[in-house]
Symmetry: C2
């Protein structure tokens, strides 16, 4: 077993740091060898490639232990890489950007600190999974719903800090998180917003404070380790009606997008609808089977035949309405009326759930939009990996059509894979087209081809003014390179802050393209990636 | 005429800087003497006191001119203080925190750069007032509504950057702004979010980017000068029903707050309701007359008599519902049902406006909640000044009651003024109790007494864990002092960023308590203020 070392560190200096971590946290909280450490690699990355392999893993359980970890890392100049759960596998999972980093896994910092029924919010530590918070709400008998993503195993905090999408009303524009506690690079504990006032009661209730607003600065950044976050919850509504809206032809895309935008702008639709193409819709319906990497790219006629046979159409929208019975009624009418203008379309509305009927919710889409976490869509996915490419696009028919045509063409041609599209309508004016490609993890040649295609996509999309909303480790720098306005003014500003608040560059160097001064040489130049 | 000089500058060095400004911007864009410069003082501050007097005013008209201003200020080490319109008179108006600063007034940078009907947003420069953007929407025949504050003369950008409240649905949690262009302290132009990608189309449509999220960092801060901002607009709804909900007794406050919270949590009420006490409600109804500084404090029996005689109750909620006809109908029913549980209460609903009936809107509250800017509530206010104190409080009956009792007692007793309360329900979990006191501007003794009372309020509120959501120049430092968790970790972090991004400390030093290294001696210590 060869230990992957971080830049500028010897095995002895790393080992001294690990000894200090073990002395501070207890030896059980420091993983120093395989197979334990191997669990914290990118599960979809070729097994023999150590580019993104951590050297060790530390698992603090308290804020004080996180402070200790940071202080020790400063003393030894050890780069850290933090996650809540590290389940974000389409983007690199728990693996660090800089090989040899010590992964700070917060999986054991997993307490639900507070659930407030009156004001409908919770406060969680970063190791709390969607499953855990949901279970705590159930156990306490709370009539509160949590806005969740498709998979329940991730960290509530980690997903929020990565700009991950969730689907209930508080998912729109990332509205759920409020108020952070952060361990800074110097070991200081800071509370943001009104939390900076001792004994203040609106820390997790009011989104600003007095002076600069810092919560969003800790999203997709490497300026601190978040150890506590408020999450807004929704009371169970009188009525909850999950819907599937289908359109039969690929050419319906423009009308589908325009209709969704208008329904979303008038708030007839709330939350975060998601628009699937046939292949993803079929995969959802069949428990992930059609994700299979070896069936693509299907011909258009085959896709159309599948769409017709399964009754899912070429485009299918998973969405819902929540509210007073009268409000839900009026909205359903309006949706039916608007959707009926698309010939051959359908509004599938199996049932409306009352406030006390959530225990009866069975179908996966109904569970997700009711905040009931699950892992349904990744059943039967052994040996199938996936890497995401996800640009943000204006919510107009022509913009989405242009982007979809461009993405599909490139993915089918270069990756020789099926084009999988989940178009997340994250607000009423823009969407994120979550695409990418699947592959057999054991087929290294296929894996390399898919990653190479993704890099081409990042570059070609950038030329069209399209940027990723989050990026896989392997092309974070390339994705960041596209944000080049005025000689990368944005990145230069972010790196000025980075150098000021983390002078030794210990916190997640390279995360989303932001490097500390001492490690800027690790940035992969676009030119190098092009070859 | 004595020129107020900034710290560490001589009259000669300031004069050299002003010459450079005039050479770069043209002499007409640099105001160097009274009466022009005097217009940029705090209109409510004693006229003979130069503590917050600017030395001069520069009025750039383009981004390039703003860059020039910043570069010149760096060369000469001149502190700048920026505003869009500087109409925020309850908090100091256009005046700088540091006497002798050169005010950068962006009033002439007043172009509406874009109105997008399809995606319902506008892009504005910082000198654009609510009036201007409304006029541009009208002139272009757009069916779009703007979320506005009570007064139409302020800057859309300036109000947003100060965390100012507006009342339509996009006012909740400050949702309207999206995407900034910023001139940094070094003269660089930066675009935030997706705007960092050249030719990107979701700059003003998607609230995040790739990497740290910066827009909120420029709220209430002094890290840059914002020269462009996106503003989300709302399509005119099928139905718009403005409402006044009244409650007859002071003791109804708890029930009022609880009812509003539940209606707001279930999204029956959207936007930003505001809860007035009798004196403010009467002032609103009578065009500001009862703001008069010489009628207070009224006895409780007098207030009750006024409440009963005018039919406005002891607590009156200005709110509205917007949406599909069926949705508005269902919501009105629900509001009536919920409100009727408060004995003696009333739901006043004069009329519902259809999409084409906005030209017929006359009453001030109906105009404000339809986004039609005006100055109605400050008519007849000659010689009456006002200073605000506005803590954020959890939206529960007991929290609001505790805060109101504490504030009323202190203001009536110490300022010998009427307690004016506008409780802004800025989201579904917290509110900001906008209070303070009025005075005759010409009565310096009364003015001093009121400001002293405000300082006492800031300090006493801080002891109870209550913090201001924005603060007047004269007690910004004291307000900031309350945010003291972990030896002011928040302020120390903000000042670390300040020193990194503005090493010469030229941008708005002292704004909301954040000082550059070279001027930290200007901070007024809490101990000094206590005396």
């Amino acid at each position: 077993m060869t230990l992957t070392l971080p830049p500028d560190l010897t095995e002895e200096s790393l080992s001294a740091a690990l000894d200090d971590f073990a002395a501070a946290l207890g030896p059980a909280a420091v993983l120093r060898s395989d197979p334990e450490v191997r669990e914290f690699r990118d599960p979809f990355w070729p097994a023999g490639d150590d580019t993104y392999a951590p050297s060790a893993v530390v698992m603090p359980e308290t804020v004080e232990q996180v402070q200790e970890v940071v202080r020790i890392a400063n003393r030894h100049r050890v780069p850290l890489w933090t996650h809540g759960q590290g389940r974000n596998n389409g983007y690199g999972g728990p693996a660090p950007r800089v090989g040899g980093s010590v992964v700070v896994s917060l999986r054991n910092m997993n307490r639900v600190l507070e659930i407030d029924d009156e004001l409908a919010y919770a406060v969680v530590e970063p190791g709390v999974r969607w499953f855990d918070l949901y279970d705590a709400l159930q156990a306490g008998g709370h009539d509160l719903m949590l806005s969740i993503p498709d998979l329940g195993w991730g960290s509530v905090v980690g997903n929020s800090l990565d700009n991950g999408m969730t689907y209930l009303p508080y998912g729109a524009d990332f509205m759920a998180p409020c108020g952070l506690e952060v361990v800074l690079a110097n070991g200081d504990v800071m509370r943001t917003g009104m939390g900076a006032i001792p004994d203040n009661k609106v820390w997790h209730l009011y989104k600003r404070g007095l002076g600069p607003v810092l919560d969003p600065l800790f999203m997709q950044s490497n300026y601190g380790i978040v150890t506590r976050m408020g999450v807004w919850l929704m009371r169970k509504p009188e009525a909850y009606a999950p819907l599937l809206l289908t359109a039969p032809q690929d050419s319906d895309l423009e009308a589908v997008v325009e209709t969704l935008r208008e329904l979303r702008l008038e708030r007839t639709l709330e939350g975060v609808p998601i628009l699937f193409n046939t292949i993803i819709a079929a995969a959802m319906a069949e428990g992930g089977a059609a994700f299979q990497a070896d069936v693509g790219p299907m011909r258009d006629e085959e896709i159309q035949a599948m769409a017709d046979a399964m009754g899912i159409g070429r485009w299918a929208v998973r969405c819902a309405v929540w509210g007073l019975e009268g409000v839900v009624q009026a909205r359903l009418e309006r949706i039916r009326e608007a959707w009926s203008r698309i010939p051959g379309s359908a509004v599938i509305h199996e049932r409306t759930y009352g406030r006390d009927e959530h225990d009866a919710i069975e179908p996966t889409p109904d569970k997700i939009q009711a905040g009931i976490p699950n892992l349904d869509i990744i059943e039967h996915m052994d040996d199938i990996g996936h890497v995401g490419f996800s640009p943000a696009v204006p919510l107009t028919g022509r913009d989405v059509r242009d982007a979809v045509d461009f993405l599909r063409d490139l993915i089918e041609r270069e990756a020789r894979a099926n084009f999988l599209a989940g178009i997340i309508i994250g607000n009423e004016r823009s969407c994120v087209i979550v695409t990418g490609a699947s592959f057999h993890v054991s087929d290294e040649e296929q894996v390399r081809r898919v990653y190479d295609t993704m890099k081409m996509l990042v570059r070609e999309a950038g030329k069209r003014g399209l940027g990723e909303y989050r990026a896989h480790l392997d092309f974070m720098d390339l994705a960041s390179d596209q944000y080049s306005f005025n000689d990368h003014a944005y990145r230069r500003f972010c790196e000025t802050i980075k150098d000021a608040v983390d002078p030794n560059g210990i916190l997640s160097p390279g995360r989303h393209g932001i490097w500390p001064a001492g490690l800027r040489g690790e940035r992969v130049a676009e030119a190098a990636l092009s070859d």
